[in-house]
Subunit: 167 residues, 4 copies
């Protein structure tokens, strides 16, 4: 039942995400660096701290936090083999036709920053840059099916924010 | 790591969803009935078995099954208080600004049947019909945050299939 | 060719939309009234001027303006029979399987306000309220295939803004 | 007014699109070639005629045809300076923050083939391959703001069809 007295836990949500990133050795600077490099060719006067500030803004948006938390929870549960079958096998094997990871990331995170963000996301998802390359190749460290898409979507959304700022 | 040798478990996925519906006393006829009533005013010659057939088709599509399974797993885990906080509280209280339930349902299920399906979904999500009304009001029977949206999205998608068939 | 020196015409875009609404006897108050009535049951303390302010904010967003201008242009061109065939016939007859009107409205306008806005849009698109009812029934006054979806999407997006504000 | 007796002109719609492609020296083989090259690394046993067949299938889908026709009409009208201002200037200059071209392409064409197609689209939109590279660099031959996105979206959707076929 929808509980109208429930107060959205903004701070707890933000901390949950940031702490998970830390546990995976991902710094916000790593994400901002992807954003910065992606937008620099379009905005030559861009500064790295603007990219950082855009990343922090994106990560405070509730819709972003909700989708990030769900993806993180699914990775964590899959790492402990606690998802019901056959979902556990599908997530564990990062099945190419799964698509829910891209939906949460593209539809739920970059999508709310408009179509530039969606296009950025598709590009980053294929051409792994920086921290995304590392995430794509780590082995034996639990399931990261959703994590790389979340990072790409946050970087993509921050890039779209900057594109609009300078348009 | 993406495992290219992984074979998608179509039958297990379908059965997992149907069995969960059964455990919640939801029959495919209940979903088809929503589809039928929604489309009848546009297609006066519609038969109920066409609606049933459209619902079954929709539920065999992989993208639909993936999103349905994720939503179901999240409801099941939330019912057992096994989601990490603050996600557990957000799902349990069906927070109005959560939106991941609508994303999986609208973006992941009805969305792939085009914009008619999306509009159908928005309508059904607000104006609870048939089984949706029951789901919206059951209490004390575990968490159903995702379930009602999944049902609405499947009914909406089946309706869009019928609309295209008769266009 | 993408011209990087092009400066986005924010004021001209906003005025173009508002003037078109005026020419169709649609006031921003009419749109705000839909938003207000839709959200009042969720937010009993809501004031009408908050709804108005949300509508004005939505209409200043570039992504919203772009999609609104494209929809308006297509209605205007179709009214003068200046679209190429068979698109002219499809738009003129508001074919049920067209869907581009809902895509610009839902995907391009309400979509960037998150899933609550998408659900609001689907609801308003079916249950025509206020000015939407009038638009749906005017005859012989040119083509309004896109206009009613644009209005519904703006009202839906403004409603989602208010929902987040009070969450 | 929605005219329920209107019969959707499937053949005229398909021919309108194909003829426009021809007038721009784009063959379906050019689109299939993008699809083939994109998917070959994932599906080593893929044949070029399967890619061609997937492209033809995609182009017969109504939702695809509707969005393609709208994009083509907007390019044609912009080429003749027949769009109302400031939309004419925005389309003519392919403004980076426009986004309606990506919406019709990604949301309206590749989107209905699921999230793999969306990701494919984002990748192709940035890394112009084959015919897309040529389209991106032709000058003085009218406005092609929507055309390259439509081509990329059709190639992306066909790629997703093949990915599902081999999953």
């Amino acid at each position: 039942m929808n509980n109208r007295n429930f107060k959205y836990p903004d701070t707890a949500a933000y901390n949950c995400i940031i702490n998970y990133f830390k546990s995976k050795q991902i710094k916000l600077e790593d994400i901002a660096s992807i954003t910065y490099k992606m937008q620099l060719k379009f905005i030559p006067e861009l500064h790295e701290d603007e990219a950082m500030s855009a990343v922090v803004d994106v990560l405070h948006k509730r819709e972003v936090m909700n989708n990030a938390m769900v993806g993180i929870a699914l990775d964590q549960l899959a790492s402990k083999s606690e998802l019901p079958e056959p979902l556990q096998s599908i997530v564990e094997n990062d099945a190419g036709v799964f698509g829910v990871d891209e939906l949460l990331a593209e539809g739920g995170i970059s999508g709310i920053y408009g179509k530039i963000a969606t296009t950025n996301f598709g590009y980053l998802d294929r051409e792994k840059h920086g921290i995304l390359k590392r995430l794509d190749t780590v082995k034996g460290e639990g399931v990261n099916t959703f994590l790389d898409d979340i990072i790409a979507a946050v970087a993509a959304a921050a890039g779209a924010k900057l594109a609009h700022k300078y348009a």
